[in-house]
Amino acid sequence: MPDAHSYYPDCPEELIVGLARTGDRKAFEELVRRRQAWLRNLMRRLCSDVTLADDLAQQVFLKAWLKIRMLKQPRAFGAWLKRMAINAWLHYLRKNDALRKADELEDFDHAQHEAPGLGMDLDDALAVLPPSVRLCVVLSYQEGMSHGEVSKMTGIPLGTVKSHIRRGSQRLQELLAAYADQVARRNHDG
C-alpha cells in the first residue's frame, strides 16, 4: 500500500497547508517544493545576489514553518509567504543600513550616468536600482501588485511608491535600451 505522503504532490495546496499546520513535516516539505522556485526568483530579483537570495529564501521558509499554525486561512498561504519574504528583505536592508542610503535617488542618478552604455539584461539592470526602488518595481511588475498594495505591504508611503516605480521604470528603460542596441549591433557585426 502506498504511503499517504506519496499523494501529497497531487493534493491541492490548501489541503497541504492544512496538514502542515498540524505539524506534518512532509506536508511542509511539499509546500517548500512547490513554492521554492517562485520565492527564490523573487528574492533573486530583489537581491541581485544568488547566494544571499537563497539564504533569505531559506530563512523565510524556516519562519513559515515556525509560524504556520498562526495562518488562519490556508488559501492565503502565498500572500502570507510573500509578506514574510518582503519583511525578510526589508529587515536585511535595515540591518545593513542600505534602505536609508538607497533613498538618496539623486546620488543614484548621478552615479549611473557616469557608467553609460554597458550591456545589461533585466537582472543586471535591476541590480543598478537602489534596493527600495527595486523592491517597488519588482512587486509592481513581477508580482502584479497595485501601488496601493505595494505601499501597504512594504510600509512605504504611497507617494514614494509611485515615485520609486516611475523613476525606476524610466531608469530600467534607459539601461535596457542600451542593452538592446548593443545586442542589435553585435548581431549586425556578426
Partner: protein
C-alpha cells in the same frame, strides 16, 4: 492595473517565464534547518526544565521558612488576650494582618477623598 501606469515593454520582460530552479538541494537545506531548529528547541526546553527543578529543589526550604515566618508575623496579636476562644474570635482585628488591612482601607479612603480617583487600589 493600467491605472498604475506600467510600461508594457518592461511588463513583457518581467512576465517572461521564471527561471526553473532545481529544488532538491534547496528543499533539503530548508528541511535540515527546520530539524535543527526543533532539536535546538527541545534542548532548550530540557535545559530550562532542569534549571527549574534544580531551583525549586534549592529554594524549597528557604521559601517554606519565609512563608512560616510571614504567617507567624501576620498572626501576631496586637493586644495580648491569651490563647483561649476569645483570641481566635478577635484574631481578624487583633493581629498585624488586620492592622495592615485597616491601614490599607484608610489610605484608600484618604486617597479618594483627596484626589477623587477610583483607579488606584
Amino acid at each position: 492595473m493600467m491605472a498604475d501606469d506600467r510600461d508594457p515593454i518592461l511588463q513583457e520582460l518581467f512576465t517572461e517565464p521564471a527561471q526553473e530552479l532545481a529544488g532538491d538541494a534547496f528543499v533539503d537545506g530548508v528541511m535540515f534547518r527546520t530539524r535543527r531548529r526543533i532539536h535546538w528547541l527541545l534542548a532548550s526546553l530540557a535545559v530550562l526544565a532542569i534549571v527549574l527543578v534544580f531551583s525549586l529543589w534549592l529554594m524549597s526550604a528557604p521559601a517554606l521558612q519565609f512563608i512560616n515566618l510571614l504567617t507567624e508575623a501576620l498572626t501576631t496579636q496586637l493586644f495580648d488576650v491569651g490563647d483561649g476562644w476569645m483570641a481566635w474570635i478577635l484574631l481578624p482585628v487583633n493581629s498585624v494582618a488586620g492592622l495592615l488591612v485597616i491601614v490599607a482601607k484608610i489610605a484608600r479612603m484618604t486617597w479618594k477623598r483627596i484626589f477623587g480617583l477610583h483607579t488606584l487600589f
